[in-house]
Subunit: 226 residues, 2 copies
């Protein structure tokens, strides 16, 4: 089946400041986004990428593609107000039946193994959402305060969230709600069940300086570029 | 009020293997546990520590104390089968009215500021449990599969979980259940409300190799030892 990765790299700048977005920060001299894109291109020869970037960063994204990759395999489109809207913009470019991987641009340590595990599971069931256990106890905020959640029943969700186009494309015709923090929530709200697969502890999301320090060191251990 | 930190450093070896427990791994030449103990001793001059260690590691713990600290401020006791039982053993040594901080031995980046924030809040309300937001979407395992949890309503729990002795000591007379993954769950099961305070993103729990890499680099940024 055709394979398309929709790589979502930041909203359209709801937090307006002068910081370089995390996807463009350098890890061992290359932008975070380089590693993310590279992993997907290496996972399957016939995989194509739709890169969703804030309007203001499309030129920067194009520079990365021109410098490192085969431009025939990557298209860029502009992001929206939220992650939901950015994914929606990416999906709008998909016209063929395909397996769709929606992935955070700021998770550069995605492995070929995890991508292939998601694909295999989604071929079987229509969806594959990678999750890991929480190392921390969890509490739920309630009307009157807060209460413990049973940790063993809660999973932390990673990406690539992987869905057959026949599921994901119609699901994204739904009206946006704040609680749609990922694709699984959208597909579930559309009435479909979500199939979980085992994620990867190293598939971290770079959201702050400390994460970049981690990431820089992970590269020493993990040869990301083949 | 008297201040006592119960530092819990590993169970009694439910995972029997030859690995060095994380609390004894070295960060910049000193054991993880050194940094944890040091932060508490520096936070308050009148704070004392009860260090709870697996029976087999008490000698190693005593060596750390002898090498670096004033032994008058630190007592060691043996851990139990689970974290709950280890904390219970630590609490059994407390006879005076006090403010009790229960802290993970493998969270060495605990700051004076967070310890003092917990103390101030617990003086007001009897309890203070530090929490941070989840950066990941979350799913709950249910009888029939799984469903999205609203991320904005869920908090990841850190330590030091801080309670007045009048609350924590009687709460730990409760019978053990698997779901008591932290002190807050025990106090709540005992029928009391939990007061949350803002945690600290850098107050990470070292549970695997990648965390140690992070930790080693955090030390370069954050002068932990004054």
């Amino acid at each position: 089946m055709k394979k398309i990765a929709v790589i979502v790299a930041g909203g359209s700048g709801t937090r307006m400041n002068n910081e370089v977005p995390k996807q463009f920060l350098l890890l061992k001299g290359k932008p975070v986004l380089f590693y993310t894109i590279n992993s997907f291109l290496k996972a399957y020869d016939d995989l194509k990428i739709i890169l969703v970037l804030p309007e203001a960063h499309i030129a920067a994204g194009q520079e990365i593609i021109d410098a490192f990759f085969d431009y025939n395999r990557i298209q860029i489109t502009a992001g929206g107000r939220t992650r939901f809207h950015s994914v929606q913009n990416g999906l709008a470019m998909i016209t063929e039946e395909s397996m769709i991987f929606v992935h955070d641009g700021v998770r550069p340590f995605i492995t070929k193994q995890l991508i292939q595990r998601c694909y295999a599971a989604a071929i079987e069931t229509g969806s594959a959402v990678p999750v890991i256990d929480s190392k921390d106890s969890l509490r739920m905020i309630t009307e009157n305060g807060n209460e413990a959640l049973e940790r063993k029943n809660v999973k932390l969700v990673q990406t690539p969230q992987t869905f057959h186009s026949k599921i994901l494309l119609p699901a994204y015709s739904i009206d946006y709600k704040d609680k749609y923090t990922d694709e699984a929530a959208v597909v579930e709200a559309f009435g479909l069940k979500i199939n979980l697969v085992e994620g990867d502890e190293q598939n971290i999301k770079i959201t702050q300086k400390i994460d970049l320090i981690i990431a820089d060191n992970l590269l020493e251990d993990t040869p990301v570029i083949s």
